[in-house]
């Protein structure tokens, strides 16, 4: 994906999000106008409208630029450099254990879930030394557990 394609993709996402906000989310999830002051939808509508306007502006600008370049025969001009893509696998690999940690802690307990989580994340980070893995899994989890339980008196997740 080139930089321009990445920009257009971002603008497209912003247009879709702002339309969703303006047409559905803001009207459906805002209280009605109480009859004084300003409406509860004014600021969200202003913000979403502003995003829509700017995204359309950006998209139009890029399209005009692309047309100008194609007319002058400069297909590989500015913005043709490749942009860093989204690493879906990498994102999922780290987000999934994090999303599951809290439910696991409430079902299996803080220490077992925390230790398993740390082992898993270390494995994903490229750690392959067993002693280091066990130490890094145990020490932070036990420290945080002791801190929450005895020092801060915090309810455990």
């Amino acid at each position: 994906m080139t930089n321009v394609q990445s920009e257009n993709c971002g603008y497209g996402g912003m247009i879709a999000a702002s339309l969703l906000l303006l047409l559905w989310l803001i009207p459906s999830y805002s209280p009605e106008y109480p009859g004084y002051g300003m409406s509860a939808t004014l600021v969200p509508n202003l913000a979403a409208g502003f995003i829509l306007l700017l995204a359309l502006l950006g998209l139009t600008r890029n399209m005009l630029k692309a047309r100008r370049l194609s007319r002058s025969g400069e297909a590989a001009g500015a913005g043709a450099a490749s942009a860093a893509g989204v690493a879906w696998g990498h994102l999922l690999r780290f987000m999934l254990p994090c999303a599951l940690l809290m439910p696991a802690m409430s079902r299996l307990g803080f220490i077992p879930s925390g230790v398993v989580f740390m082992l898993l994340v270390q494995w994903f980070c490229g750690q392959r030394k067993p002693v280091a893995m066990v130490l890094v899994a145990l020490v932070p989890v036990l420290t945080v557990w002791a801190l929450m339980r005895f020092a801060l008196g915090v309810p455990m997740p």
Binding site: S6, E7, G10, L21, L25, I26, Y29, S30, P31, E32, P34, Y36, G37, M38, A40, L42, V43, P44, A47, A48, F50, I51, L54, A55, L57, G58, K65, A78, G79, A83, A84, G85, V86, A87, H90, L91, F94, M95, C98, A99, L101, M102, S106, G114, M118, V121, Q122, F124, C125, G126, Q127, A132, V136, P140, V141, V144, M148, L152, P155, P157
Partner: protein, 499 residues
């Protein structure tokens, strides 16, 4: 008046506060020394811990953390040629060549003295300037505040980001996020999607941790796993002249230190520009004013002095708009707002009337933190150098676990962990598509003040918001915003045409 000053300073010098400030400085130096971990990230992670401290100790701890991280960033920059923080990038240009010659300790000592000098200068300016500015700011009504926030967001989006368009969109997204929760007039839920936990609004902690710390780690892991880096330990020369900075060498950099401290203070006081801009600008000025410009980039101590004094001067200077107008100068100051709010204080001009003693205790903490930075830096420099050698596979899992537990600790709510992950994913995509998440955070923080001032304008003007244009100061601020937009747009067009 003097009673309050003495009482504030006494609070700052209490044993508990001194210990927390010291802890903050040490933690900040360790965090800053680790490549990829920066001051705002460390502050975001430590704000939940500050719940358990007194207000003075909490702010002192976080301020110490920020100061320590600014210097800590230079350690990995000088020793590994990998700046721990973006603002230390210019330090590496002259620091790393010295480290290669075995003079790493000397380079770091110069960085330490420059940091302390820049920081001391901007702290003095903050103390002298903040109270008179706050008095002026008290005369500002809702139209001026509304216009001022518009201007602040425009400056942050226009000058602090690569694209004004995307910066403004991110700020608007932040305003939208700030609208989630109970609507102030009707006291009914707004934009909560029927989720009960969202009715109390979104706290800054999950946003801060998710966007600043967690997403950064995910991005860095992505890069590190692609290219494994091997960095051997750096050797230090044992000759005294290669280890220590003499008074003569420090004095030779005095003009550069002063010039860079002024630059850092001015840049820090303006919302949005940030420490990297200050350090690059100061370095550039040091080269231009030097008699030996060719020696820069090859291990010139003046280069280190310029960069470090400028970026450290930003720390205290960024508190000037925070204390006087309630507007954060940079992301670290934005996070400090969260800490202030947690302890029942709203930063702004009223603080000087309502919490004057607290302000003086913060001033005291700033001075103490600077002295601790000097002392800890001098004594523990070698020990902090070891931190840069901790492998990512050990460090990053610990940071990830700390992020999750930090988000939970804020309100003992697992929902906050979910929110933190959502914002981490959002920040990941924003980074990939080149949107500034800093603008989102600042927009989020300023949204309630902006909405309240607009509400007050509409009520006071009987539904005529155009009355803002009838107020000269508000009109001037809005005109300035329009000028910044036009200027940024023109610069963007020029740079695109050049590319």
């Amino acid at each position: 008046m003097f009673d309050m000053i003495f009482a504030g300073l006494a609070d700052a010098l209490s044993l508990a506060n001194l210990l927390f400030v010291l802890l903050g400085v040490v933690t900040g130096m360790i965090a800053g020394a680790v490549p990829g971990v920066n001051g705002p990230m460390a502050i975001a992670l430590c704000i939940p811990l500050s719940y358990y401290m007194s207000p003075v100790a909490a702010i002192g701890f976080l301020v110490g953390l920020n100061k320590g991280a600014f210097f800590g960033g230079a350690i990995s920059g000088v020793l590994l040629n990998t700046p721990g923080t973006p603002e230390s990038a210019a330090t590496t240009w002259d620091g790393y060549p010295l480290a290669v010659e075995g003079k790493g300790e000397k380079a770091l000592r110069m960085a330490l003295y420059a940091s302390v000098t820049g920081d001391a200068f901007s702290t003095v300016v903050l103390i002298l300037v903040a109270a008179p500015l706050a008095t002026v700011a008290l005369y500002m009504g809702p139209p001026e505040i509304f216009a001022l926030i518009c201007m602040a967001m425009t400056i942050i989006a226009g000058l602090g980001t690569k694209s004004l368009l995307r910066g403004l969109m991110a700020a608007a997204l932040g305003v939208l996020t700030g609208c989630i929760g109970i609507e102030p007039v009707s006291a009914l839920p707004r934009l909560t999607l029927g989720i009960t936990q969202l009715e109390r609004g979104i706290s800054l902690i999950p946003i801060g941790i998710g966007m600043l710390a967690f997403s950064e780690i995910i991005i860095q892991l992505e890069q590190k796993l692609r290219s494994s880096q091997g960095q051997g330990p750096m050797n230090f020369s044992s000759r005294p002249e290669d280890r220590f900075v003499s008074l003569k060498e420090y004095w030779a950099c005095a003009r550069t230190l002063l010039r860079s401290s002024v630059a850092g203070t001015v840049v820090g006081a303006l919302p949005g520009l940030g420490a990297p801009v200050a350090s690059f600008f100061a370095y550039d000025q040091a080269v231009k004013h030097s008699h030996r410009p060719e020696s820069f980039g090859k291990g010139n101590l003046e280069g280190i002095a310029a960069s470090e004094s400028a970026n450290s001067a930003v720390v205290a200077a960024s508190l000037i708009p925070l204390f006087t107008l309630g507007i954060p100068g940079n992301v670290a100051a934005a996070l400090l707002i969260g800490a202030f709010v947690i302890h029942g204080m709203i930063p702004g001009p009223l603080m000087f009337e309502q919490n004057a003693q607290f302000i003086y205790s913060i001033y005291g903490s700033l001075i103490v933190a600077n002295l601790f930075l000097l002392a800890v830096g001098r004594m523990g420099l070698r020990a902090f150098c070891k931190v840069v050698q901790v492998p990512a596979a050990v460090l990053y899992p610990i940071i990830i676990f700390t992020c999750i537990m930090g988000a939970y600790l804020a309100q003992y709510a697992t929902f906050d962990v979910t929110l933190m992950l959502v914002f981490a994913v959002l920040a990941y995509f924003m980074r990939k598509f080149d949107y500034s998440f800093i603008c989102l955070i600042i927009g989020f923080i300023l949204a309630p003040i902006w909405e309240t001032s607009l509400q007050q304008v509409i009520i006071a003007s009987e539904q005529d918001p155009y009355m803002i244009l009838g107020r000269p100061v508000a009109l001037a601020l809005l005109a300035l915003s329009a000028w910044i937009v036009a200027r940024s747009a023109r610069q963007g067009r020029v740079s695109r045409n050049e590319a």
